[in-house]
């Protein structure tokens, strides 16, 4: 991938609550995405707790490796907020009352008709050589320093204070600092293909020559079971040439994963099924047994789903299958709840009671209990009904985990009705 811009950036999160796992480090992932959008390569993310020497030591390490460092946390008024002191220690500077920081804080308090306490004044004590960055949504001002090859930006740990400070103060300064660098003015192109029905190892092996064909592009995989995302991207100054490469790579990947790609625009299965139904003005009703409402819940996560989603009847009991969906008692007697014929009658029933174009049904055994020799845990029957046809399939997929099985059954069922509506096998 073209990332030969030579600007190296690192992210450094401070705070015991992050180090100890009491909160996830969402600041780091947010900043990482923002940097990449600007064409800047991230090489490392580090996290440590509220100890002065550890923070100062890591600032020094980073300053020798990176051009830009984004530090979050440790700007508050309490005794475990150590970032300013650590920055001074790392650079051999001293802490002084920064008049600009004090004025900025004073204006924050005045606007809210609040009184500034002496504890807050600690937040205006910064390294003497620091530049101040205003905090629009909190009391702690940010600051930046130079250290070895790096410019280091210190921001609050509270996301709603950190994010606007990054956008309004940090990013413009990064652009100024590296204005001569082409990469920062370059474009990032990303494509995301979504795959269902092939395990990650097979997706990987089918695409293993990718880099031989497209050395300028970067390929990545992300598995959120049961979906695999194949992402390929480039950062480039020559947008026309890059777009052509991306287009060729799309075709190459499509031919290698033929039949398994359900979206080439990064949509989820429920978004794609919704798109397919909406574009054809078709409606869907679902009867769920083993998926327990998951299909309905996933479909209705999509805004505008009321245009095509009419009903999900989660009929766990046989009585509900008979009374609500009109499944024949004889069918349940002869075959049981988990059977192709039952799934067909459930799909027909859902379609009929809701007045939908299509009916979809799941009946199976999510486990861990309930399996038999004939119908082990992981067995699922999926029924599909339309205007002039109905059919059902039986599969066995078991992941040894109830909610994983439910998820797989739900996505499989959505994929089958998607294929039905598109008339692809």
């Amino acid at each position: 991938m073209v990332m030969n811009n030579n600007i190296k950036a690192e992210i450094f999160s401070t705070g015991d609550e992050v180090l100890w796992g009491d909160i996830d480090d969402t600041n780091a992932s947010w900043l990482a995405r923002k940097l990449r959008e600007s064409g800047i390569e991230i090489t490392r993310i580090t996290c440590t707790g509220d100890r002065l020497e550890d923070i100062a030591g890591i600032i020094q390490e980073i300053s020798a490796r990176a051009d830009i460092a984004l530090v979050t946390g440790g700007l508050g008024p309490t005794s475990d907020d150590l970032s300013a002191e650590a920055a001074a220690l790392a650079t051999g500077d001293t802490i002084v009352l920064n008049q600009k920081a004090l004025t900025s804080m004073q204006s924050y308090f005045n606007k809210r008709e609040l009184k500034m306490s002496d504890d807050n004044k600690k937040q205006a004590m910064l390294p003497s050589k620091a530049g101040v960055m205003e905090n629009f949504f909190g009391t702690a001002p940010g600051f930046h320093i130079s250290c070895n090859r790096a410019t280091i930006f210190f921001m609050p740990g509270v996301p709603r204070e950190m994010k606007p400070m990054y956008e309004k103060s940090v990013l413009p300064q990064i652009r100024d600092l590296f204005a001569a660098n082409t990469a920062i003015n370059s474009s990032s192109l990303i494509s995301r293909f979504k795959i269902f029905g092939l395990p990650e190892s097979k997706v990987g092996s089918r695409l293993k020559d990718f880099n031989d064909h497209f050395p300028q592009l970067k390929l990545g995989f992300r598995s959120t079971i049961p979906i695999i995302e194949v992402k390929f991207s480039t950062i480039s100054q020559d947008i026309i040439k890059s777009q052509k490469q991306m287009e060729q790579a799309s075709q190459w990947i499509s031919s290698r994963l033929d039949g398994y790609i359900f979206s080439n625009t990064g949509l989820s299965m429920e978004q794609e099924l919704g798109r397919v139904l909406a574009s054809r003005k078709k409606t869907l009703a679902v009867a769920e047994s083993c998926t327990g409402g998951l299909i309905g819940s996933m479909l209705t996560d999509v805004e505008g789903s009321s245009d095509y989603f009419l009903l999900s009847a989660v009929t766990y009991s046989n009585e509900a299958k008979i009374k609500i969906l009109g499944v024949k008692p004889d069918t349940l007697m002869a075959h049981g709840a988990v059977h192709e014929q039952t799934a067909i009658e459930m799909a027909q029933g859902a379609r009929r009671v809701a007045g939908a174009d299509y009916g979809l049904a799941t009946s199976g055994i999510a486990g861990p209990g309930g399996g038999t020799d004939e119908k082990p845990v992981g067995t699922v029957c999926i029924g599909i009904a339309g205007d002039d046809f109905s059919k059902a399939y039986r599969f066995n997929f078991s992941f040894g985990d109830r909610s994983m099985n439910k998820k797989f059954f739900a996505v499989k069922a959505m994929d089958m009705i998607r294929r039905e509506v598109l008339k692809i096998s």
Copy 2:
């Protein structure tokens, strides 16, 4: 807290998808919590991408600072999975086919009646001096090596494979390695209270004197909207004394958060509602509109839910509300779908068609579209019906996000039926 053990541990997450912020590093926070529960101090978390030299370099850095390193990611079958190679590079070792790893993978495939591909075999290529750790829920075996002062454990990046490997293989080995250390042999006592209905800042301020009363205990909060977990813990060699402190802390917290704690054993809302229904041998049927099947899906994530959960009818359209649930057309005409009377009739209908003891219904506006002045986004009506009563409530909660609103509506509805069954207001 007692943490004077001198064992230093670091966590190292690998993978472009984490470095680039495509996913949050929840593995690191989970491992950090687990290590602390065992009395082990974490000093640093590092993350880098899928580049061989970067990974090998960081392994060397960590091996000079820490006694234990937990590495996640990079064990898959694709070309960007580089952990084994990096471990060999860092320790001057070579990669060889590990027979034990191959056998363990073979048994994984055999159990599932799957065929192992040549690509999978790459996953059994490990440093010659590595010890193998079995993966119970996936193909990639883990391994551990010695490097400088550190024992380094390499685990998969997929959380459902990593977590059992940590519990079953890594932790027992850490206990063996540091058996002489007092901290690791001490007992960790943890209590988890689950809170619904108070924002995190209010929970925090009600408990702000905790450390004055219980200086030996550690208090933590974890917010998974809309639920707050209050966790308090201690690591101690004097188990009797610690148990007494924990008991006193339980009472103190219970009195401060009276009415908002729905579980003092760490159960989720759906588990707790299931427990309450099952213990009273009562059954539930749900009619969902704005929650779109989420209540059914959450309830059926709990094993054994078929004992008390009979039906969820996800009736998005008015037609489905009328035909399936018997909501009166006049009610819909006069009041619309989002109204107390509609919610009552939906709850009664679900109860009746399923033959359940209780009926529960939601109708509201999850957004972002569909709001009006009278019924803005975030409005939800919750209906409850029993043998000899029915009632409904209207609330407005809006989080500016469709799936967040759905989640809040679902948990609020489950909490209300839980209170109804328990006869608490």
